[in-house]
Structure formats: structure tokens, C-alpha cells
């Protein structure tokens, strides 16, 4: 949904994420350096995906946070960002990103934003 935001710096982001989600679909617990985040009852996972635009390993690629809904067996991607955008962990930045995603989805649900949203409306 917010992929367009990163497209200028990472033109091949869609292809990279497609590859990531293909692997995650096969084994969400182990694929792409999966790490279950403690404190979330095995529902919040973080993944690493290399960026073909950077031509370096997964350490320099994208980070993906996703929520696994046990009852429906569905994994919801929540936030995707390039590691270069947050070299060192920044709790405020992460909160802000999740909050923005939440607001956009909420506005989409209420019909106050068009779907898919354009860059200027986010």
C-alpha cells in the first residue's frame, strides 16, 4: 500500500517484496530470518528481505513486520521499511510508522480516502 513511498529509492521494491512474501507464505516461522517478537504471544514477526537495488545482503535490505492471526491463519503485513531508513532502532519512529499505517487504513475503511490511496493523500 505504501510501496510508492519507497519506489524512488528502490525501484525494484515490488519484486523484492513479492519474493519475500512468496517465501513467507511457505514457512512464516522460518523464512527470511523470521523472528517472533517476544511479548506478543507468538503473533508478531519480523522478517528481512534483501534489496536487489542495493546489491548487498539481507542486512541492508528491507524489514517487514507482520501480525499472524492464529484463529484465521492469516498473516497481515503491517510495516515495511528499508534498513537504511532506520540504521539504529528508533522506537518513536516505529510507533509513528505503525500509527500512520493505522490512520490510513482507518480512513480507507471509513471511505474518506480513495482506494488505492495516492501519495499526496497519505
Amino acid at each position: 500500500m505504501l510501496i510508492d513511498h519507497w519506489k524512488k529509492d528502490f525501484p525494484r521494491i515490488e519484486k523484492d517484496l513479492e519474493e519475500a512474501f512468496k517465501s513467507i507464505r511457505q514457512d512464516y516461522r522460518k523464512a527470511k530470518n523470521a523472528r517472533s517478537k517476544p511479548g506478543f504471544n507468538d503473533t508478531l514477526f519480523k522478517y528481512r528481505q534483501k534489496s536487489t537495488d542495493l546489491k548487498r545482503g539481507a542486512s541492508y535490505g528491507f524489514r517487514i513486520y507482520a501480525y499472524y492471526d492464529i484463529s484465521s491463519n492469516i498473516l497481515y503485513p503491517i510495516v515495511v521499511y528499508p534498513k537504511t531508513a532506520m540504521q539504529e532502532f528508533d522506537l518513536d519512529k516505529l510507533r509513528e510508522a505503525v500509527s500512520e499505517v493505522c490512520d490510513v487504513v482507518s480512513q480507507l475503511n471509513s471511505g474518506s480516502l480513495p482506494f488505492p490511496p495516492d501519495e499526496s493523500s497519505i
Binding site: I24, K37, P38, G39, K46, Y67, I74, V98, L108
Partner: protein, 151 residues
Amino acid sequence: MIAGSLTFEEIESSTGRTYAFAVFAEYTKSGISVAFGVFAIVYLARRLRKLVSAALSPSSLEGLTEKQSQELLPLVRDLHSQLVRLCKSCPSQVDRVPLLAQAVSSIRESTEELDEVLEDLALMHDKVFQDLISKSIKEVRKPAHFEAMHH
């Protein structure tokens, strides 16, 4: 207090000992003898692998209380900083010695894992972040026009 299969005291002391060894490894690198330096780096690499895959694994951290995670945070941060310093100061010649090159590469990987541990410790009891995740999930679950991943 049980955290996974390890107690908090075990997690803390294992992390503390590894930190002490990382300081020692840097010291041996700049003096004593080459053989001893190599041994220290190789041993540190093994010790770190064990630390991140056992004592500091997500399942071990899962049982920590907020107070315990806050206590552990500065220790892991010190260890992480020490390792970053150690890796940066490694001369490029280490690549010529396979055993050393492998150990340094392993230390770099463990340092990256420690990055995740630092993040875990900061997030696991953060009420604001947890609420944001819950709120986002509630919103994402509502409509049919979002592409979720059926596993």
C-alpha cells in the same frame, strides 16, 4: 523467575560473561600473542552464537518481566557496542586467515542478532506500541480490499 527454560539470573550472567570476554578479546587483539588473539576471537564467536541462540533467543526473552528487560537492556547495549568496536577495528588482513575470517563474520552476524535483541527488549513491554499493533490489526481485519496472506 523463569524465562523460557533459563532463569533471569542465568540470562544476565551469560550476557555479562560474554561482554567481559568481548572486552578481553579486544585487549588480546592488540597485544599478548597472535595465537592467543586468534583463540580469543574464535572462542568469542562461538560464545556469541550460543548466547543469541539460547539465552537471548525470543523464547528465553518471552518470560522476562518489564523490570528484568529494563535491567538487561544496558548490558546487551554495552555488549553490542563493544562488538561493533571490535569488528570495526579488525584489520583487513583477517580475510587472509580463513579461521579468523569465519570467526569475524560470525561475530558480525551475532552483532546483528543483538540488534534484534535490543529491539525486542524495548518493544516487549511498550504499551503504546502494543496498542498501536492491536488497533492496526482491528482496522486491517475490517475490509475485504486488503490483500492478506493466507498461509
